[in-house]
């Protein structure tokens, strides 16, 4: 197992592996997202309290889960890069940041579009919304810091420390609805006991969640391949690859 991981983490085999895995991941993502949209917009019934406006949830909730998940991947890859100086970990952390920022942005905007008709306000400064906004600033700060340091390897170290320090925000976001009185409601799917959501509404939510996750992995591979080519452009394996293609 460790051997396999070790071989995979070498840039040339990662580059080849990513190329093979890409179409499958993207295909799966598109299929699941299309099925989720159909189930969520057409099949699922309206909610007893919120009417049709709750359908925003099928975009909002998976985006919010991804915004947290991608940050955890980024912080873990950053820690690996700091300790073992593995190039692949540096690339994965750096390639995750813009995707995470996108999902965080989507979470905040779809949340506002849900909040206006339901709560009566686009935005409130409660603990959940504020901590999610801080997450967006963490992602943007990460990308800013990275672009400010010309040397890729020192940039990877500095940004990894920022990602690790910022990771305290992740449990705060998740538990904010329990620790403080918030306008945002509590967890539905991840709370202990049975989820308080009807199966016909849970299905599209899960389809979209898995679809978004596959999309992230596919997107990550494209971005990581691009960064690998850039970082390793003078290496032997890249010139061999190019010679074969030319």
């Amino acid at each position: 197992m460790f051997n396999l991981l070790h071989r995979l983490s070498s840039p040339p085999s990662f580059f080849a592996f990513a190329g093979r895995a890409l179409p499958w991941l993207l295909g799966g993502a598109l299929l699941l997202i299309a099925a989720g949209c159909y189930q969520g917009l057409v099949v699922a019934p309206a909610d007893y309290q919120q009417g049709d406006s709750y359908r925003i949830m099928f975009v909002h909730v998976p985006s919010a889960w991804m915004s947290l998940f991608i940050y955890m991947v980024m912080a873990a890859a950053g820690a690996i890069a700091l300790v073992w100086r593995i190039k692949l970990a540096e690339v994965i952390a750096s390639a995750s940041a813009p995707i995470g920022a996108s999902f965080t942005f989507l979470t905040l905007v779809t949340g506002a579009l849900w909040g206006k008709p339901m709560w009566g306000a686009w935005w409130v400064w409660d603990a959940r919304l504020t901590s999610e906004l801080i997450l967006l600033f963490l992602y943007l700060g990460y990308m800013g810091l990275e672009s400010a340091i010309p040397d890729k390897r020192s940039a990877a170290r500095a940004t990894a420390i920022l990602a690790l320090v910022g990771s305290v925000n992740i449990p705060i976001i998740h538990f904010s609805v329990e620790w403080w009185n918030t306008l945002h409601q509590g967890a539905t799917v991840t709370k202990l006991g049975a989820p308080s959501i009807h199966p016909s509404m849970l299905l599209p939510l899960l389809l979209m969640a898995v679809g978004f996750k596959l999309f992230y992995f596919a997107n990550l591979l494209v971005r990581a391949r691009c960064q690998m080519l850039e970082r390793e452009q003078r290496s032997h394996w890249v010139s061999t690859l190019i010679k074969e293609a030319a």
């Binding site: 309290q49 919120q50 709560w119 306000a121 305290v168 620790w179 409601q185 539905t188 959501i197 009807h198």
Partner: protein, 152 residues
């Protein structure tokens, strides 16, 4: 693991643990200020600020909504199960505002104990179901215990 890597691992573990402790202490210290709203029981106990705006949160008591003749002014009672506060509000209400549903009102407490709201936000719960299922659940619950309160 080479000694150098072990050292780096310890260093970043220490960093994350340290920042975690600092964040925990900070959020414990700010616990009061991070409250988005006060419940009626807290208001009656005198925890809410006097003479300036704060937010009051709870459930709109069933049967308590009264609309005045001008069509804009609404009176209702906010309850948390333990205590109640009467609220008056003049303006448009969000779509989710209804009896038995969570609500957060921004305003101040008058001397007569009435809460004059400037803004009313509806809070929705974490339950999602089709109307027929909600109806069936309600019938089943009404048969069992007529006065079942729903947690906020």
């Amino acid at each position: 693991m080479t000694p150098k890597r072990t050292q780096r691992l310890l260093l970043i573990t220490g960093l994350v643990v340290g920042v975690g402790i600092a964040a925990t202490l900070a959020s414990l210290a700010f616990r009061e200020n991070m409250l988005f709203f006060f419940a009626p029981a807290q208001v009656l106990a005198g925890d809410a600020p006097v003479g300036r705006n704060f937010r009051l949160g709870g459930l709109v008591e069933a049967g308590s909504i009264q609309r005045a003749g001008d069509g804009l002014t609404v009176d209702f009672i906010v309850s948390d199960g333990a205590a109640t506060v009467p609220v008056r509000y003049k303006g448009l209400l969000p779509d989710l505002f209804r009896e038995g549903q969570g609500v957060v009102a921004l305003g101040r407490l008058e001397t007569d104990g009435r809460f004059m709201a400037e803004e009313v936000l509806a809070k929705h719960d974490e339950n999602y179901m089709p109307p027929e299922v909600a109806e069936a659940l309600k019938t089943a619950q009404d048969n069992k215990q007529p006065l079942a309160g729903r947690p906020m």
